[in-house]
């Protein structure tokens, strides 16, 4: 039976929760949520002849997600290219997230296990490359992987390959680029979690004759799960909507969903379709996010 005092405390806690979140929500209302409503409205309008929209209700943008009307014979057909683009984006983003985790976790662990004073230094060391602008970093990566670039020059000179490796303009190049770009987004949240990890738990595990692998799986991972969740979200979701990296390293022939949406607002001259595609993407990602977070929080209790 909950006492009156307990109920009061809960209500106060709830109120505090809303109050503390309100500044963030306010800024987001202006910068993110408000604009989203505009997009929602636009998805039901008619595309203007030279871009922009004209006032008039239409659901064309919504059917356009899956079906295209052939401009010549006016037939409606299932547009599998849209699905291909979506699949390519999901595939690349997943790969990027997984790989970023595989290399990011050891990195975060490494930083977190340095002596306290050195920790800040390593943390800054990992962020410094990201003080360099994204476009430039991407050009620098291009410099390394292109046909006559650094990597090929070194490999050829060492005799390890006969012909230059064709990395640039492939999905692999995009994957490399995205992993590079999003790595700190994985490392920093992981670090924030691991940093708090009590090493005595590890001692206890080893005392109980657990192997390192078991210790990793059974002790470390569950405790730093919030960091893993945060890092995965911060990598997967932006990667899905990425646009600059695929454009520069991918060569423009294979679109990801971010490029495809951008096309609608550019030379594709179909803002409503761009809007409807974005809202759809948002819904899919939100659903996936909720499922993921709920799954990850299932076994977690509170300290």
């Amino acid at each position: 039976m909950a006492s009156r005092a307990e109920l009061e405390r809960d209500k106060a806690s709830d109120r505090a929760g809303w109050l503390l979140s309100s500044p963030a929500l306010l800024i987001l209302a202006v910068a993110a949520i408000g604009p989203l409503f505009i997009m929602l409205v636009y998805s039901f309008l008619i595309p203007g002849e030279y871009g922009n929209v004209e006032w008039g209700f239409s659901t064309d943008a919504w059917t356009g997600i899956l079906f295209t009307r052939d401009v010549f014979d006016d037939t409606l057909r299932l547009e599998d290219a849209h699905l291909t683009i979506l699949w390519r984006s999901v595939k690349l983003s997943l790969l990027t997230t997984v790989f970023a985790f595989l290399v990011g976790f050891p990195t975060a662990w490494f930083i977190a296990t340095r002596p306290p004073k050195a920790r800040a230094l390593w943390l800054f060391l990992i962020t410094i490359p990201f003080w360099t602008n994204l476009l430039i970093r991407t050009f620098a990566i291009n410099e390394i992987i292109r046909a006559e670039g650094l990597l090929n020059t070194v490999l050829l000179w060492a005799g390890l390959i006969q012909k230059p490796l064709e990395i640039i303009y492939t999905d692999f190049a995009v994957f490399l680029g995205m992993t590079y770009v999003y790595l700190p987004l994985m490392v920093l949240p992981l670090f924030a979690s691991i940093d708090r990890f009590d090493m005595r738990l590890l001692e206890a595990g080893y005392d109980l004759y657990a192997s390192r692998w078991q210790v990793l799986r059974r002790i470390i991972v569950p405790v730093v799960k919030p960091g893993i969740v945060a890092g995965s979200i911060l990598v997967f979701v932006p990667a899905l909507g990425a646009y600059v990296t695929p454009r520069i390293l991918g060569g423009g022939k294979q679109m990801m969903i971010g490029n495809f949406i951008e096309l609608q607002f550019g030379q594709g001259r179909n803002w409503p379709l761009g809007a409807s595609l974005s809202v759809t993407l948002l819904i899919i990602v939100t659903a996936a996010l909720l499922v993921y977070v709920r799954f990850a929080n299932r076994e977690r209790g509170h300290g």
Binding site: G17, L20, S21, P23, A31, W109, F110, T132, Y206, L234
Partner: protein
């Protein structure tokens, strides 16, 4: 008992991987620093060692302007986003789940989920109304936009940190009759600090990198470094942008060295 020389915190291969990662991270940076001294006209063909592009960047008012604006904007946006995200993180974790908590969580992460071009065009339309009817065309719009999309980047690390912390210390403080504010200042905040710093750094670099939203929201004379460089892509990206980046990097290194020197003195 533990073997001789057994370090509890050591996991096999982790250090090697970590060091390889650092090396891989810095390789492109090294490339760009080296090439910023490229005396030739081309971006990638070496034409001798020279400071010519540094001189050119230094004299280029447009670039200097854009760089300073980028840094200022990133700093302000990151500060706002981090402050606001810290509050939100405190409000949404470690308490009994309340109605709407999931809603808040989704709202906060929403900027991550929408491709930038969409937010960019929507903000263009949204802010245009204000620009035309209020006549204000200053940096306020860019600050709001940047702070907005930086919030999830600050929020998630802080929240992760918060969730990994246990409540015993704060409960102890409360038992000792500390007010919530005092508890926050003396107990929670210092413990949370690594998460806050991580969040702020993420927010800062995210804002610094943004090109699409800035492109659409900016008004006259508000180019940032990325939008300046994007404009160059269609023509010719010149070594000038490498030189600018190297100078920024040098500035960062100098600032960090100073920071560490000062904090060392404190002990």
């Amino acid at each position: 008992m533990a073997e001789r020389g057994f370090i509890v915190s050591r996991l096999p291969g982790f250090t090697t991987i970590a060091l390889l990662v650092f090396a891989a991270l810095y390789l492109p940076i090294l490339v760009l620093v080296v090439f910023s001294f490229n005396g030739g006209d081309s971006l990638s063909q070496w034409g001798g060692f020279s400071f010519r592009w540094f001189a050119k960047a230094w004299e280029n008012d447009q670039v200097k302007d854009a760089t300073i604006r980028s840094l200022w904007l990133a700093l302000v946006a990151a500060l706002i986003a981090t402050a606001v995200a810290t509050a939100a993180a405190l409000g949404t974790t470690r308490r009994k789940p309340f109605k709407g908590q999931t809603f808040i969580y989704v709202m906060i992460n929403q900027p991550l989920m929408v491709p930038e071009i969409v937010t960019a065009v929507a903000l263009l339309i949204f802010f245009a109304w204000f620009k035309v009817n209020l006549g204000y065309q200053g940096m306020g719009y860019l600050v709001a936009a940047h702070a907005g999309f930086c919030i999830p980047f600050a929020y998630l690390p802080i929240r992760a940190r918060l969730e990994s912390m246990d409540l015993t210390l704060e409960t102890a403080a409360a038992d000792l009759y500390a007010t919530p504010w005092l508890t926050f200042r003396r107990v929670t905040f210092p413990l949370l600090l690594p998460g806050i710093i991580a969040g702020m750094m993420l927010a800062f670099v995210t804002s610094l990198d943004d090109v699409v939203i800035t492109l659409f929201v900016k008004s006259a004379g508000q180019d940032t470094l990325p939008t300046y460089m994007l404009g160059q892509i269609r023509r010719q990206v010149s070594t000038e942008v490498y030189a600018i980046s190297t100078m920024l990097l040098a500035l960062t290194v100098v600032l960090l060295t100073a920071f560490f020197a000062l904090t060392r003195k404190r002990d």
